[in-house]
């Protein structure tokens, strides 16, 4: 075997970047790639995917590029601020590129370079990791991106959302911001990671974690959560039954249901036998929102373009892909 030239000795350069610089650098980078830099959605969500800028924009023919930070709430993952790696709320940087560009992997690697991570000095690998959200009726195929063995990004080609086969296909990049910052700063306690402004993550967020854990595990009023779940389900129905369905209010109601479900689940109040049914009720609303959104965009003549052959694009999924390499 032919050996490669031994690298010229150079001083190891650790990238040292705090959380807010990380966010600023990524925002700037994706802004330069022609993305709308959006803001976090102002409703509790479990992941950046639930933001309408992802869930709705990936539907239909219209091209779109967007990047935003999304605080993501997973009440059941909360650990009273005692576990150095687990948070009940964490931050994702979410990027949607629609359609997925030919050189999307290359552009992604450049985004790492923008953080000061030179791929030439690291081991960057793309390992299979597919994604599915039963709540959103969505799934995709892709990888977790490993930087020197550390999972730093979820990279997904969306195949279906709201039960609708997607065309064109969007690439979704989800950067786990805490993890990346901890990794770059070599901190093995998330609360000691530098946020910026002279403070570390713990000083900014530790008390939230403690209180949100207490609330999710011990305090939340289950009867109230359940009642509101049903209230919002009815409200979603009312929004979507309007003569011109109210898509965003409908979706917001579904997002609230999803978060209420997560709280009930963390509280241990979801019986094993009803779990699937509750998730199914949220999905039902999400699917209706997706269809209503597509119809709305079609009525509007797909204002963002994209050569809209709406019939083909909006066709409901007939079934799962059959795993064959047929051309479509």
């Amino acid at each position: 075997m032919l050996d490669f030239a031994v690298a010229v000795a150079r001083p190891p350069r650790e990238v040292d970047v705090d959380l807010q610089e990380l966010i600023l650098s990524l925002s700037r980078f994706w802004s330069e790639q022609g993305c709308v830099v959006q803001q976090p959605y102002d409703i509790e969500v479990g992941a950046g995917t639930m933001h309408p800028e992802t869930f709705l924009r990936v539907l239909g023919p219209e091209p779109y590029r967007v990047a935003y930070v999304q605080p993501s709430r997973r009440p059941a993952d909360a650990r009273f601020g005692e576990n150095p790696f687990r948070f009940g709320k964490h931050f994702q940087m979410q990027v949607i590129l629609k359609p997925s560009p030919e050189d999307v992997q290359q552009v992604y690697l450049e985004s790492l370079a923008a953080l000061g991570i030179d791929p030439k000095a690291h081991d960057v690998r793309f390992e299979e990791d597919n994604w599915e959200s039963p709540t959103l009726g969505a799934w995709g195929v892709g990888w977790q991106v490993l930087l020197d063995g550390m999972e730093i990004t979820q990279f997904t080609y969306f195949q279906q959302a709201g039960g609708i086969d997607l065309k064109p296909i969007s690439a979704e990049l989800t950067y786990g911001l805490e993890r990346i910052a901890m990794f770059l700063q070599r901190k093995d306690n998330g609360f000691e990671m530098r946020w910026g402004g002279g403070l570390d993550y713990g000083k900014v967020r530790h008390q939230d974690e403690v209180e949100l854990s207490r609330y999710a595990f011990d305090v939340a009023d289950v009867a109230m959560l359940r009642r509101h779940f049903e209230d919002w389900e009815r409200e979603a129905g009312r929004c979507l039954e309007q003569e011109e369905p109210l898509v965003i209010p409908g979706l917001e109601a579904a997002l609230k249901m999803s978060h209420l479900f997560n709280l009930m689940d963390a509280r241990g109040a979801v019986a094993v036998t009803e779990r699937v049914a509750l998730i199914g009720r949220v999905r039902k609303i999400a699917v209706r929102c997706a269809r209503a959104y597509l119809e709305q965009r079609e009525r509007l003549g797909f204002p963002l373009g994209g050569n809209g052959n709406s019939k083909a694009n909006g066709k409901r999924a007939a079934g799962k892909t059959n795993g064959r390499a047929d051309e479509r």
Partner: protein, 696 residues
């Protein structure tokens, strides 16, 4: 004849490791079949891959496809020729259509009688043209565990395709093969490793596959998976030896690692000593499953190092090693957190929470399961006459599923059972109990260790028997390749435990009870029958594969009786051992006559006083002797001796059938003779239905 090569490479985005072995296999078999169909058989097809490419190399192709003759059949002879043998318009039209002179038509036999046939010459086409078509068909027909679309969504494949290399040539790869795949037209070059040497590599006029592989190697890519594996093993050994350690053998992980890279890089990382205080199983699982690292050992204990693959040859700034060490440390810190959290309460105190964990929609929670397993375990232990006492079995069943609600199993589901065992040990449970909990999911199949003691064997069998009975009762019956609950494996494990632990309980009887427990007495008899067949099938499989008897022997033994697996195995081994001996040659035929006669007429009333003929008396005394001998032989476990005793019945039976008319006029006499034969049948069936053995 000149000999030419063909090279096809698809460069993709990273392909899932679990798809690649299948890709290589399908490409090879697909090309072989297509080449044969195109009259190009005999060429050698080899396939290769990396995480980003799939490559086909065909060697020994002719420069041009040979001309082929094809026979086309036409109208029936009757319609093709008149009485005087001259061709009709039908024959003339057919010949014209095939482009052959009418006097070249021949007469051949078709499925519906004689017809005329024309032999058409199909001239060979240029091979590159044929290869282009074949490549398109074979690649598009590939199956993957999961496919995807990308970009405008027009193509479906395992991952987006970026470059197609397709070259053909005699000695040198001089000619492009005009194929287009997923919107990418084939070119004469490819690209190197994304980090090491990403530039384009032009391969026109390359010196065959050898140069292709060499140029890729120079660009950081080792195209041959077996070579990557060899290099990884070599590097691993060297890195382990440097720190006086051994590599913990892990062929399964290594096979995966080979598929994850283009370059077979391996590095060694160091772990902080404090992590060695974690249970070794947790340490190994964290490194192995979660970080895909090879574990190093020293004197059979986990050493504070690991080996990680990286897709590059070097680590210029040490980032890769430090990064991997940091991640391993982070993962282990996380595991240590869960371990500390779990240890705040005993394992036993957690079983209460099992009523929140669903086992199966129709079968309820794990609390229900624990209850069922407890009842079955008591029954199995009793039926198998184990002298282990009720207490340890009951305790093991109480604790068995409690680890499902620990943080550790939540994080590492593959450690269920093992985590429970460790916690039970740390809680001070008896050795028999914690080992039983620890071993409850072993063995995984025909390979692998059994539970260490009888309590573990009972728990392992009872747990799986409940799963089998429950799933069948709920209608979750495996069919064809569909076995989502891995019931075949569960049944085989039960059979193995019973055979080898051993547990001499009657599986058929235990399963009836297990099924009744799970179906509230409203049992669907067809499902129970399916369950019994299903388990019997696994016993048969075990006899043939693990006990190495011929299928016919297994059949003969199981047809007589089945369920007490150690007895089934002993009988099968004995029959297999002695069935070749001379004395058995006639036995199968004689016993077949016995069975036919008894089956046809049913048993009669036995009255020895009526049996007066010499042959009758002789057979009667032989049977009485045999009954005693068989009983004694089986009692001391010598089934071969029992078989030899049965063999002694061959001669008296032969004389009986020669001298005695069984179906005689006298009803009472007939009944007595049939009853004698029924006794013969019964003593045989204690061992095997030898009528199913063909004569040697």
């Amino acid at each position: 004849m000149t000999r030419a090569d063909f090279l096809l490479e698809l460069l993709c985005e990273e392909i899932p490791a679990n798809a690649l072995p299948g890709v290589r296999e399908q490409l090879r078999s697909g090309f072989e079949a297509e080449l044969e169909g195109a009259g190009l058989a005999g060429a050698a097809v080899a396939t290769y891959s990396t995480v980003r490419r799939m490559t086909v190399h065909v060697a020994g192709l002719p420069a041009a496809q040979p001309d082929r003759e094809e026979e086309v059949t036409g109208p029936p002879v009757k319609a093709a020729y008149t009485a005087d043998g001259s061709p009709t318009p039908a024959a003339i039209g057919f010949a014209k259509g095939q482009g052959v002179p009418v006097d070249s038509l021949r007469v051949v036999k078709g499925p519906k009688g004689e017809v005329v046939a024309a032999t058409r010459l199909i001239p060979g086409r240029p091979v590159p043209e044929v290869l282009a078509e074949i490549s398109g068909r074979v690649v598009r027909a590939l199956h993957f565990p999961k496919s995807m679309r990308w970009g405008r969504g027009e193509h479906t494949f395992v991952r987006p395709v970026h470059n197609v290399l397709a070259l053909f040539g005699v000695k040198r790869l001089s000619e492009r093969v005009p194929v287009e795949l997923f919107g990418v037209a084939a070119s004469s070059g490819t690209f190197g490793h994304r980090i090491v040497a990403p530039d384009r590599i032009e391969l026109t006029d390359a010196d065959g596959f050898t140069e292709y592989a060499r140029r890729l190697r120079e660009a950081g890519v080792e195209i041959d998976p077996s070579e990557r594996r060899r290099i990884m093993e070599e590097k691993s050994l060297a890195l382990a030896t440097e720190v006086e350690c051994q590599v913990r053998p892990d062929p399964e992980l290594l096979a995966e690692l080979v598929e994850l890279v283009e370059h077979p890089g391996v590095l060694r990382g160091t772990l902080a000593e404090r992590f060695l205080q974690l249970p070794e199983e947790v340490l190994v699982t964290t490194l192995r499953h979660h970080q895909k690292c090879l574990v190093l050992t020293r004197e059979d204990h986990v050493a504070p190092y690991f080996l990680a693959v990286c897709d590059r040859p070097d680590d210029p700034d040490g980032h890769v090693q430090r990064g991997n060490e940091w991640v391993a440390g982070a993962r282990l810190t996380d595991a240590a957190f869960f371990f500390a959290q779990d240890r705040k309460a005993t394992l036993a105190s957690r079983s209460g929470a099992l009523d929140k964990v669903l086992f199966h929609q129709k079968l309820g929670t794990f609390a229900v399961k624990a209850e069922m397993v407890g009842r079955l375990a008591a029954e199995v232990a009793g039926a198998a006459k184990l002298k282990i006492g009720e207490k340890p079995v009951r305790r093991a069943c109480e604790l068995a599923k409690a680890d499902l609600v620990t943080a550790m199993v939540g994080e590492f589901p593959e450690l269920q059972g093992i985590v429970g065992g460790i916690y039970a040990r740390l809680d001070g449970e008896d050795e028999a109990v914690w080992q039983a909990v620890y071993d409850q999911y072993t063995p995984a199949g025909l390979e692998g260790a059994l539970p260490r003691g009888p309590v573990g064997a009972v728990l392992g069998a009872a747990d799986r028997l409940d799963t089998l009975a429950g799933m069948f009762a709920a209608g979750e019956i495996p069919s064809g390749s569909k076995d989502p609950f891995a019931l075949r494996r569960a049944a085989l494990a039960v059979v193995r435990i019973c055979a080898e632990a051993p547990l001499a309980c009657d599986l058929a009887a235990v399963m009836r009870d297990a099924f009744a427990l799970r179906s509230d007495g409203t049992a669907d008899e067809a499902r129970l029958a399916a369950l019994l067949d299903f388990v019997q099938e696994r016993v048969r499989y075990y006899l043939v594969t693990a006990a190495s008897v011929r299928p016919e022997t297994a059949e003969a033994v199981l047809a007589a009786r089945w369920g007490v697996v150690p007895d089934d195995v002993a009988r099968a081994r004995a029959v297999e051992a002695v069935r070749g001996e001379e004395a058995f040659a006639a036995l199968a035929v004689a016993f077949k006559r016995v069975r036919n006669m008894v089956a046809k007429t049913g048993e009669g009333r036995f009255d020895a006083a009526l049996l007066n003929e010499a042959a009758e008396r002789e057979l009667l005394s032989a049977v009485e002797k045999s009954e005693k001998e068989v009983q004694r032989a089986v009692g001391r476990g010598d089934h071969a001796a029992a078989m030899r005793s049965l063999a002694k019945l061959a001669a008296p039976l032969d004389r009986f059938f020669t001298d005695v008319l069984v179906l005689c006029e006298d009803e009472n006499l007939r009944a007595a003779r049939l009853a004698l034969l029924a006794r013969v049948e019964k003593v045989f069936l204690r061992i095997a239905d030898v009528s199913r053995l063909s004569a040697q």
